[in-house]
Symmetry: C2
Subunit: 681 residues, 2 copies
């Protein structure tokens, strides 16, 4: 009996998933909703579209979302609406109804239903936050034919899989102005993310104003910090979008900037603390044996926490190697006195002291997974980040934390600064096949993508966050079974385009950088190169952390290139098809012609030092493409040509200007094919 039920269950799931995949061809929704059914209706978007909110919208979340909806619909379709604001007390064709205004926390109800008929659309939800999630879905549903834009007839019932769907932005390594944060908050809301984790301090900068400790902004920020008013502005802005804001003050390590301002709470007497300009892990660490450290943090947290209404407060706690602790005799004595065997034990002592301070301030302590030591109370929240690269198991400490009774959030697998493919990140499931009790499952709050900013500036940060984060947002929101890579990629293309509507600069800033590289010449040849190159991955771009300083140029070719290079995957598919059926080579040859000719265009540019870094890349791409092209065309390849080809492919295999040529495998396969089939004796 059990078996039959299980079989039916699997069958049911499969049918459902197959059906979903069909629907995914038609609707570019992301994250994909829990339940979706079609009907034959069509709601035409014309000048008569009106919205009414039939609820007490006292935080104006829905009103503001509705205004934004009307502006975006109008700009997207070109329709001149008669009514630019939600109607008061009159009948509209888009009606929104909800029961209550939500407080944002891990229990906020975000479920909604959306029903589209010919002449009416309704969004129903328990909370205002659910309603704005429904509006975000509706916005993704605009379709058109030759004469009109419309919303297709559809019914959606939706709610999230995880309650914590976050994006962390590191504003310490490179400061990110308010408008960068605001546009990213908008983008987050558009894919239903609900936690902005604000990494405010690190070795390279302390970015939050303190009125009690003003040396922090004066000596630890290079003048780049957020005032209290600006923080309130961001928190309000986020709240309006249904997004919680979790601040992080990273202690006791990552403290070079803090200690440049207040060296007296550092662990090494006489050390010349200074704001760090390089990347890496550094020694400056707060002194956990000094009562002044706790006074300082208690005063600082007491000042800061009222700015952040959320229950959670992140204290970092990562990557403290304790070198300065080892070098300080007083700290060593303290450890003996308190029977703290290791530096981990000492850090746990520190964390427990901090938790008491935070509890007094009504905050839950959250920290990176190093804080999970045997003595750490389970009231702490574990932010799981380490994995195979840091000598732990894949998937990190998430499951272990949940089983030990900690609330926990996953970032291992979602480090978007490692410049890995969207496929890679999308394939990481926080739970996978692991069996958990209800309590254990409830401890797993969700996940966060992490945008560490050593190598990003306001010019490039969007193209590093998006569009990959939209796919990760789907992992956090949608049912686990929604995991078809191709269906995701097809939808992501549209979602990526829609992000531009919100001011996200990931598309337009590529050309800005290429114009800069050419000194305002024709960028067509560089565009072609940028579509087959990706920035070096897994921190290879700045391997020892000293090539790029915080003030180094970040307007280089690598900054114009993105992960999942536009022309690479398609070409890989063409090559596979060709090798199976060498008759069908038209598209493959067309692309080779484009690359073969490209160096000609590149060579016509007035040369400069920035372009010079790309010359051998451009040359070898064109030469190898030319050889392959003529070989495929003539079905012949001479030994001389093969030697030349191999030389050019060797050039393309090496990094150029901090990028890798990601079509290299495709070119190698073609080369092997030509060698095997066409080589002359």
């Amino acid at each position: 009996m059990k078996k039959i039920i299980l079989f039916l269950f699997i069958l049911n799931c499969s049918i459902n998933v197959i059906g979903q995949n069909e629907l995914m061809k038609q609707y570019d929704l992301m994250p994909w909703p829990k339940e979706i059914t079609e009907n034959s209706a069509k709601f035409i978007i014309n000048s008569d579209v009106t919205i009414s909110i039939n609820a007490n919208d006292e935080k104006h979340r829905v009103r503001n979302a509705a205004i934004s909806f009307l502006r975006r619909i109008s700009n997207r379709t070109g329709v001149f609406l008669e009514q630019g604001f939600p109607l008061e007390k009159s009948k509209a064709n888009v009606t929104i109804v909800f029961d209550e205004v939500a407080e944002l926390n891990i229990h906020t109800d975000e479920a909604y239903t959306l029903v589209i008929n010919d002449s009416s659309i309704s969004i129903n939800s328990r909370t205002d936050v659910g309603a704005i999630r429904g509006l975000a879905t509706l916005l993704q549903l605009t379709q058109n034919d030759i004469t009109q834009y419309y919303f297709p007839g559809i019914t959606i019932k939706d709610e999230p899989r995880f309650v914590w769907r976050g994006l962390m932005i590191d504003v310490a390594r490179h400061f990110q102005p308010i408008n960068v944060l605001k546009r990213n908050l908008e983008a987050m809301a558009s894919v239903k993310m609900n936690v902005f984790h604000w990494h405010l301090t690190d070795d390279q900068g302390f970015r939050i104003e303190s009125k009690i400790y003003p040396r922090l902004q004066e000596f630890a920020s290079d003048g780049q910090y957020y005032t209290h008013e600006q923080i309130k502005d961001i928190v309000t802005y986020a709240d309006n979008l249904g997004i919680r804001v979790i601040p992080e003050i990273d202690v006791p390590g990552h403290a070079s900037a803090l200690l440049a301002a207040y060296p007296e709470i550092g662990s090494k007497d006489g050390f010349e603390y200074a704001v760090e300009r390089n990347s890496g892990i550094f020694d400056p660490t707060l002194d956990p044996t000094n009562e002044k450290t706790y006074q300082f943090l208690e005063n600082l947290f007491s000042e800061i926490t009222p700015l952040f209404p959320d229950d959670y407060f992140h204290i970092g706690g990562d990557e403290n190697e304790g070198k300065h602790w080892n070098e300080n005799q007083r700290i060593q004595s303290f450890k003996k006195e308190y029977d703290l065997k290791t530096n981990h034990d000492l850090q746990t002592y520190f964390n427990i002291r901090l938790e008491k301070i935070l509890n007094k301030l009504d905050k839950k302590l959250m920290g990176w997974d190093e804080i999970m030591t045997p003595n750490m109370p389970t009231t702490a929240v574990i932010h799981s980040w380490r994995g195979e690269n840091e000598g732990l198991q894949n998937g990190g400490s998430l499951i272990e934390a949940a089983k030990h009774g900690y609330q926990t959030v996953l970032s291992n697998g979602y480090y978007i600064d490692r410049m890995l493919s969207v496929k890679h990140h999308y394939s990481v499931d926080p739970i996978g096949n692991i069996k958990l009790s209800d309590t254990e499952r409830a401890n797993i709050l969700g996940g966060e993508t992490t945008m560490w900013s050593e190598l990003v500036t306001p010019l490039t940060i969007d193209s590093r966050i998006w569009p990959r984060t939209a796919a990760i947002a789907e992992r956090f929101w949608s049912p686990q079974a929604i995991n078809n890579i191709n269906a995701m990629k097809k939808r992501l293309k549209k979602i990526s385009f829609n992000l531009e509507e919100l001011g996200i600069t990931h598309i337009k800033n590529r050309d800005v950088i290429l114009r800069n590289i050419t000194d305002n010449q024709d960028i067509a040849s560089l565009e072609i190169l940028s579509k087959i190159c990706e920035p070096l991955k897994i921190y290879q771009r700045n391997e020892d952390g000293v090539e790029y300083k915080t003030f180094s140029p970040f307007s280089l070719f690598a900054d114009a290139c993105v992960v999942d290079a536009e022309d690479a995957e398609g070409y890989s598919d063409l090559v596979s098809k060709f090798i199976n059926q060498p008759d069908y080579s038209f598209a493959l040859q067309e692309q080779l012609i484009r690359w073969a000719r490209n160096h000609d265009a590149f060579s016509k540019l007035k040369m400069n030092p920035k372009l010079a870094h790309l010359e051998s890349l451009s040359q070898s791409l064109s030469s190898s493409s030319q050889i392959l092209l003529s070989s495929i065309d003539s079905k012949s390849l001479t030994m001389d040509e093969l030697r030349d080809l191999n030389n050019h492919l060797k050039v393309l295999e090496k990094p150029h200007a901090d990028v890798e040529v990601v079509i290299i495998n495709s070119l190698r396969l073609l080369s092997e094919f030509c060698k095997t089939n066409y080589l002359e004796d």
Copy 2:
């Protein structure tokens, strides 16, 4: 004797101007400096570039400008600098020396000298503001060869012609967020503009927070206003760039929004005041006979003026037709009682009352030129805006105001929202050939470009302000004799490109809009169209003020097009050359081929309602180009072809989607030529 001196003077000027025109071919400086001489040196930009500031830079203006300089040089050249910040107490190769920190007012000394040698660069000035003007000049001088970037050997002595070089931004018709203002302040400073005139209120919105009168932001702003903190932030930001901020609260007219919040000080009892959504001149007007009006304004100004340290305060005062005054019996009685014959007299009474309030607050009253009435004291400052279009003489009331003893600023001729060519605006000189006494000349403070925002949003405002405003900035700074249009246009191309470095979006947002129009298809065919089309001029786009409401779409084809369309002028030159020498037609034909083929590409796009508006334009451009092309090629033209050609040109003569096809005259000339020379009987 007099004649000889005059002759020598003219000769001297001419030689100088000819020499300047030669130098203009080499250096893309804008505004062009007062004196410039070359030497043979070359200062190489490598990783050793360092800056020191040898002065008491207590407002950090120079330090901040130097940091920004280092970042921009590094990003522009790709050079990894060793030092990312100005040196303290050590020797640098770029040294900046000045005598004192300036207060910003109309007497601020902005002169500087800049000397570039092989191994050192020095900037010397009397004030810190002069020093940052010198740094702006230096930034415009980067040059390069194949292997390096460098600054050319040069000596510049420079100072401005006018003390008031302003840009007005209207944030009432469309709100402009803080980051839009900041990037435009950066752009202003890069061309040495020094006044930001902030048009904060109008019928469509009251954009400044009041703690005394909170209904202003609650009921007159749609939630889009600046807090006091944000205003302080902008004022500080501007001050740091040597830019004064002049607020404008427009009264007694243009008051729909204000009166929507506080109807009790309006002129018409029982009128349903509401925030205006259309464009135009409206009736709501403050009641100048009501003491409450003056109490309100005194309280409001007392609250607001401390946010703006500048001496000047703009009260608007324009376009009050007094309709509601005429309709109010009480106001009519008041006029009789006080012997005020006309509404102008009544407004002068109002203005004089306001001036007393402002004087108490240590502010000078400034207003649009309607305030210049016989009884208005000469302590007021006249902002000259009306001209031939408003029934006054060309050049406006500037000279008259100066001769009457008023300080005065010119905006007539600099209304960039009229969408006229850069040539037009650049040719307007505030003084021209008019002879003025020293006192009269001193009354002419300078000029302001005006960015009225009925038809611009944050997406498009930069492309409406820039690059034309850079050329107008030169008119305000450089000697009057610097007026060669072609030399200006050549330099403006480079300056326009450099503006992108500061975040100005005038280049990149065109493609954003075209992507939106195509729903993310290939935009190449639309780019070609956008380069020969300009938005309708002189307010024809929204002739009655009601087609476009404040919430209408502004992401349409006209929003992607700009004044001085990229391909139009060059084509006009090609056509002139061809008509003189029909043998040389290669470039002309190449361009015709591009247009002839373009509709083919356009037709391949999946059609939508936005694209449909452009179909006849695209079709007729291609068809007419094809006919001209084959006629020129074959030296023949049939009657049928001529009829077709004329029909297509008629289509192109009409507005399409709110743009005009600005190559129409060139096509007409070609058509005439073919008709005259090639028509078959």
